[in-house]
């Protein structure tokens, strides 16, 4: 067992070339905050990338930031905040959920897991902001892809492939991302007392309106009660939330119009900027499901209008509690007392309602070894994915098995 801590891309290349030659698989580690996601790996050595850190080029008016891959997310967000910019895909922070509070999130980890928060519905995911990289493939070769400008179609868009590959294709050493202005103001409109189906219909009505909603979540009463936002916890009912962002005159106008649009659905309330920020952070980070720790936590990406049916189906099959983001398209589920973490029920519910992607985000290692953590892939797609892995990492030394056996 060895821990390698390379200082630059060249050293990463040397280590991987050795690992490929000796067929010694490596676990890639940025800050370690998401180490608990995925299948447990049978890996002897750790490739600790934390030394590859630091912001390189950042000119706010170009909307591009370049940084070493293990630069802490906090450092990047602070630099952006100083120029009133953000990563508009709203990277999640699941450290409390996963019990990894002591570790730092790195930008490379955020991109490799393609994480995105509530603004996904407007701004896309990490993949949509990933412009270019330098990295090392499973042969130990340093290569690059993409560019440092916001618009580029030169060659295959490998950024998309690396985003969400959980480190199984490439060790990122340097990345360029698109950054955007932070909205001047933000507020949330709450509609109280809706059941899941009515809530998702109301969310769709708002999302289909011209009022540019940038967050659309629904918390059933039992979930809302656990919120740290007083107006949400004290509502005594289910809370359906819509976020509106923009310059002040615009925000005020759109909030008013949305209130008019939805007031027929139920009583409404409005959260100011501070309350709004707190609520969307909880929604993003699954703050409601941190406790109790024994529960397995799933993240289901489904057809938005099917969200309530998926949740109802699960509630009938297992000891399950759900809440909704992305206008119903993201169902967070916590499951207790199930020998398979609810896997059979979850897979069945997703398949029955139009398909999608269920990720077992939190479960004990033994369970993550026993059941599929990621949605299993169908025949030709599984074979194609294995060939893609082969094309980057022929000796399977980069995070092997983290997503799927053999990949």
């Amino acid at each position: 067992m060895a821990v390698f801590r390379p200082a630059d891309a060249r050293q990463v290349g040397e280590i991987i070339a050795w690992a490929a030659g000796e067929e010694q698989p490596l676990e890639l580690l940025g800050g370690g905050s998401k180490r608990g996601i995925g299948r447990p790996m049978q890996v002897e050595h750790v490739l600790d990338l934390s030394a590859l850190s630091g912001i390189g080029d950042y000119e706010p008016a170009e909307l591009v930031l370049t940084a070493a891959a293990a630069t802490p997310l906090a450092e990047i967000e602070a630099a952006l905040a100083a120029s009133r910019q953000v990563l508009s895909f709203e990277p999640t922070d699941w450290r409390a959920l996963l019990g990894s509070e002591a570790s730092a999130q790195t930008i490379g980890g955020v991109l490799s897991c393609n994480l995105a928060g509530p603004r996904r519905i407007r701004s896309g995911a990490a993949r949509d902001h990933f412009l270019g990289f330098q990295g090392v493939n499973g042969r130990g070769e340093i290569y690059k892809s993409g560019g440092r400008v916001v618009k580029n179609v030169t060659g295959y868009d490998l950024c998309k492939l690396i985003a969400g590959a959980y480190g199984t294709l490439c060790v990122l050493t340097e990345i360029s991302i698109k950054v955007l202005p932070k909205a001047e103001t933000s507020r949330s409109l709450l509609v109280l007392g809706l059941d899941d189906a009515a809530a998702v219909r109301a969310l769709a009505e708002a999302l289909n309106s011209p009022h540019e909603v940038s967050g659309a979540a629904h918390l059933p009463a039992a979930v809302a009660r656990r919120s740290a936002v007083a107006a949400v916890a004290g509502a005594g009912a289910a809370v359906t939330a819509l976020r509106i962002e923009g310059p002040e005159p615009s925000t005020a106008y759109r909030v008013e119009n949305l209130v008019n649009l939805l007031s027929g659905a139920g009583p409404t309330d409005i959260l100011d900027e501070a309350g709004s920020e707190m609520l969307w952070r909880e929604v993003r980070d699954a703050g409601f499901f941190v406790e109790p720790r024994e529960r397995a936590v799933w993240r289901l990406s489904v057809t938005p209008s099917s969200g309530p049916a998926v949740a109802a189906d699960l509630a009938a099959r297992a000891e399950a509690e759900s809440y909704f983001d992305w206008g119903g398209g993201l169902v967070w589920v916590a499951i207790s007392d199930s020998p398979d973490a609810g896997a059979a029920a979850v897979r069945m519910a997703v398949a029955t309602h139009g398909g999608g992607h269920a990720l077992l985000l939190r479960a004990p290692e033994s369970l993550r070894a026993a059941v599929d953590v990621f949605e299993p892939l169908a025949g030709p797609l599984a074979a194609l994915s294995a060939r893609v892995k082969e094309s980057f990492d022929p000796r399977r030394v980069l995070n092997p098995g983290r997503m799927y056996a053999g990949i």
Binding site: A2, F4, R5, Q11, E14, I15, A20, G21, E22, P60, A61, E62, V64, S83, R84, N114, A125, E141, I142, Y143, K144, S145, G147, V149, V150, K151, N152, V153, T154, G155, Y156, D157, L158, K160, L161, A163, K182, A204, N208, P210, P247, P249, S250, Y253, R254, N257, V302, T303, W326, G329, G355, G356, L359, L384, S385, R387, V388, E390, F392, P394
Partner: protein, 496 residues
């Protein structure tokens, strides 16, 4: 001079047999063989290159596409997919020994799903056709290439096309949720769908912009957006491109992402004004059209901010559109810029590089020098928000040697884009046009990695060969792993 992969005499000699086999798969007029009819497919939007395809086949079902590809793979026949044939990089240029696979019959809109804000369409549907199908309910499909009336959504995916609104609303890749595609071996694969996250590797992301080299798209699920209630444009003229460029940077730095932000230089302004009489000022070096969209209070607020920033940057013209007709008039000149240049020059060649915006003055100055030394005029239109530059080189194809000089000039411009930190193509693709310039941006290792990915999809290299990559390597050669067993190659490395 462009060299394409050499024609395979074995395949050419078996042409009749291949035609017969394709007719078994696609009955009737779906297999086109006569020279006169094949002529219609000999080039795409990059008309400088022409090649008659060996055979044209126009399937109408996914199953037919699958059978055609499987047959061609088994019989070692090359295939070139084609949508509407508007590519400006020669992506759909046929091969002498290849089957041209036209997707024109895949022209149906299959489903409009407003509760989930998406539409499922066949790849031959035009870009504008999608918007036309949903605009009566206030929705649209966001990426809007200037060719949107003609180009197909399948071609848009292959090229990852953009448009004037893509700084705010994204390129094709940000607006496609799922596809069905067929691999060269005939396997049918579905990627993504109506859910936002798909399991496994993001193969949809890598298919988008893959220029027809990885698979044939047979169905597409796109995201639909609700139209904003208001849009207004502001027309700004500057005495220098530096001031115009600084204005763009200041607008963005102030936190505004306009719905559209386009710049034109003096030759482009003059050509456009002479053509459409949009009322552009003729005494400025740079013209900027900034469009703000959203709810009325937002647009009013932002227009005022942009006017102030423009004033601070020395704008000598500043006019806000007062109504929809005037907004459209402001755009009319920009939208007609290509044909306007076409009117003052017998031919023009449209380039497509992206640069960091800060390099704009340098690039324009260097381009003027190149223009003088090549003796060819150039007009520039610029997607200013995202740094995507379209220089239009004016030439006369009937003058001997002028096309060659134009291509050399164009290549110099693209090298310049890369030199200042930009890229070879922002939205038109590499195709055959920029293929031989790929090594200005990528080294051999970079290109080998991309080609290995190609091998995962198409190990025989039969799908659209000769595009994108300057050199073709066999997959077996690319896949070889050179290992140095037993060597500790990094003795100095810290370990813990």
């Amino acid at each position: 001079m462009l060299t394409m992969p050499p024609a395979d005499p074995m395949v050419l000699s078996r042409r009749e047999e291949i035609i017969a086999a394709l007719r078994q798969i696609v009955p009737g007029e779906g297999v086109i063989t006569t020279e006169a009819e094949r002529r219609a497919y000999e080039s795409d939007g990059l008309t400088a290159y022409r090649q008659l395809p060996m055979i044209v086949v126009l399937p109408s079902t996914t199953e037919q596409v699958s059978q055609i590809l499987r047959y061609c793979q088994t019989n070692n026949v090359k295939v070139v997919p084609r949508g509407a044939g508007t590519s400006l990089s020669g992506g759909a240029l046929p091969l002498e020994d290849g089957v041209l696979l036209g997707l024109g019959k895949f022209n149906r809109i299959l489903e409009i799903d407003l509760p989930n804000r998406c539409a499922v369409v066949q790849p031959g549907v035009t870009n504008l056709g999608i918007t036309n199908a949903v605009q009566h309910v206030g929705f649209y499909y966001a990426p809007d290439p200037s060719s949107q009336i003609a180009c197909s959504i399948g071609g848009n995916i292959a090229e990852n096309s953009g448009g004037v609104h893509c700084l705010k609303y994204g390129l094709t890749t940000n607006n496609v949720l799922g596809i069905e595609m067929v691999l060269m071996n005939g396997e049918i694969v579905r990627l993504g769908g109506k859910a936002m996250d798909a399991p496994g590797y993001d193969l949809l992301g890598v298919m988008t912009g893959s220029e027809g080299l990885l698979g044939v798209v047979t169905e597409v699920t796109v995201r639909l957006l609700r139209k904003t209630p208001t849009a207004r444009a502001i027309l700004l003229g500057f005495p220098s491109s530096e001031q115009g460029g600084k204005c763009v940077a200041d607008i963005i730095a102030s936190g505004i992402i306009p719905g559209g932000m386009e710049m034109m230089d003096r030759p482009a302004i003059h050509a456009a004004e002479a053509f459409v009489h949009a009322g552009y000022p003729l005494d400025v070096e740079a013209l900027l059209i900034v469009e703000l969209d959203g709810c009325a209070p937002e647009v009013d607020h932002l227009i005022a901010v942009v006017e102030r920033i423009a004033g601070e940057n020395g704008a000598v013209t500043s006019r806000v559109s007062r109504n929809e007709a005037e907004r459209e008039l402001f755009w009319a000149g920009r939208k007609a810029a290509f044909p306007a240049v076409g009117r003052i020059s017998p031919d023009y060649y449209c380039m497509d590089g992206t640069i960091p915006r800060r390099a704009l003055p340098t690039v324009l100055a260097r381009m003027r020098e190149l223009s003088e030394s090549y003796g060819l005029g150039v007009a520039n239109v610029f997607h200013a928000g995202d740094g995507n530059l379209h220089p239009l080189i004016m030439y006369d194809a009937n003058k001997p040697g002028e096309l060659e000089r134009t291509e050399a000039f164009g290549a110099d411009i693209l090298r310049l884009c890369v030199e200042v930190g930009g890229v070879l193509t922002g939205e038109h693709g590499v195709g055959v046009e920029k293929r031989d310039l790929m090594d200005t941006m990528f080294n051999e290792i970079d290109l080998a990695q991309q080609q290995r990915l190609k091998c995962a999809f198409d190990p025989g290299g039969l799908l659209n060969p000769g595009k994108v990559f300057p050199q073709l390597h066999r997959c077996a050669e690319l896949g070889r792993v050179h290992v140095h067993r037993g060597q500790m190659r990094f003795p100095d490395l810290p370990r813990f």
